[in-house]
């Protein structure tokens, strides 16, 4: 296991509330599926960072900040998260209200992240103010499937599938931040990532909590397994 992944697991994945009813299921999923995906994602990120650093120019920082702004800008945040808020039916809200709270909180977080990407672009002098970003296509389009894309609108997705997404995908976000902080010295890029570190970890913890407490029967575990399979195989290309 890569040392960064090992550190992440030791600090945040393995510590488990004694008696948490869904914890055994989460730990089994982690060992049998997530670790492999996390390792591959981390290796990909590290390779990308090494390639960026070898370029000897700063264009990658601009591209990443624009891409980040597109994925986490204010308009995108409202669109993606309002869709997900609507994915918990009225009848399910009593049981899954925390999932809606989780999404509501994420709108705020994403909006804050977009400011950090703008900070890089402003700090490097690539834009004079945030309004200029409205005219740059790369800052307003993103190709991400599923998690931040159209499938979030599918009404048939079980509320707990979102918990699986939080657990698996946000761990990848955390690992990406750890990798960046491990390799990149630029203070603005570090700021861009450092400020997101605790928040991405919070989203991961939301998923961990939901699985530990709510995924206690085959009926509530199935949507998590299905979402994880989709993320691993269809999105991640991992077999």
């Amino acid at each position: 296991m890569h040392p960064i992944l090992e550190e992440f697991c030791d600090k945040w994945v393995w510590p488990t509330m004694p008696g948490a009813p869904g914890a055994a299921f989460r730990l089994k999923l982690t060992r049998e599926h997530c670790l492999k995906g996390w390792e591959i994602a981390l290796e990909r990120t590290l390779a990308e960072i090494e390639q960026d650093l070898a370029n000897n120019d700063e264009n990658w920082k601009r591209e990443k900040a624009l891409r980040g702004y597109a994925a986490e800008g204010v308009a995108m945040s409202i669109k993606q998260m309002s869709g997900q808020l609507l994915s918990v039916d009225i009848a399910d809200q009593e049981r899954y209200i925390d999932l809606q709270r989780m999404r509501a909180r994420q709108i705020w977080d994403e909006c804050k992240h977009s400011k950090l990407h703008a900070d890089v672009l402003l700090g490097k002098g690539w834009v004079k103010n945030e309004r200029e970003l409205m005219d740059i296509a790369a800052a307003n389009t993103q190709p991400l499937p599923a998690y931040f894309g159209l499938s979030m609108m599918f009404a048939h997705i079980h509320p707990l599938a979102r918990a699986a997404q939080n657990y698996y995908q946000e761990a990848i976000a955390c690992l990406g931040i750890m990798a960046t902080l491990d390799r990149v010295a630029d203070p603005l890029v570090r700021h861009e990532h450092l400020s997101q570190r605790d928040e991405e970890l919070m989203h991961f913890m939301e998923g961990k909590f939901q699985i530990d407490f709510l995924c206690t029967t085959p009926q509530t575990q199935q949507p998590v397994e299905e979402a994880l399979g989709y993320l691993l195989h269809q999105v991640g290309g991992i077999r």
Binding site: D10, K11, W12, P15, T16, M17, P18, A20, D98, R101, R105, D198, E199, L201, M202, F204, M205, E206, K208, F209, D212, F213
Partner: protein
């Protein structure tokens, strides 16, 4: 008896501890009646070290500490979760 408290210099106010504590019906974590509405832990209701649930879901390193020793419990030390 050991007790927990929040280190407000490290806490991000995400409220995961509040959610978890409420879920297990302890309700020891509460929102303080002060202008910043910060998270606090009621030592009279908290059963630490018997319960360590909030420690397992806190994402902000160093933000929950042992009040008496000042020791950070996030991420959770092994004795907080290994039986």
């Amino acid at each position: 008896m050991a007790s927990l408290k929040i280190d407000h210099a490290r806490c991000t106010e995400c409220r995961m501890c509040y959610i978890v504590c409420r879920e297990i019906d302890l309700n020891a974590v509460y929102v303080a009646l002060e202008p910043l509405h910060r998270i606090e832990i009621d030592a009279a209701k908290c059963t630490y070290p018997g319960c360590t649930a909030c420690l397992m879901y806190c994402p902000a390193e160093g933000s929950i500490i042992e009040a008496e020793s000042g020791r950070s419990l996030v991420p959770p030390p092994p004795e907080a979760w290994r039986s």
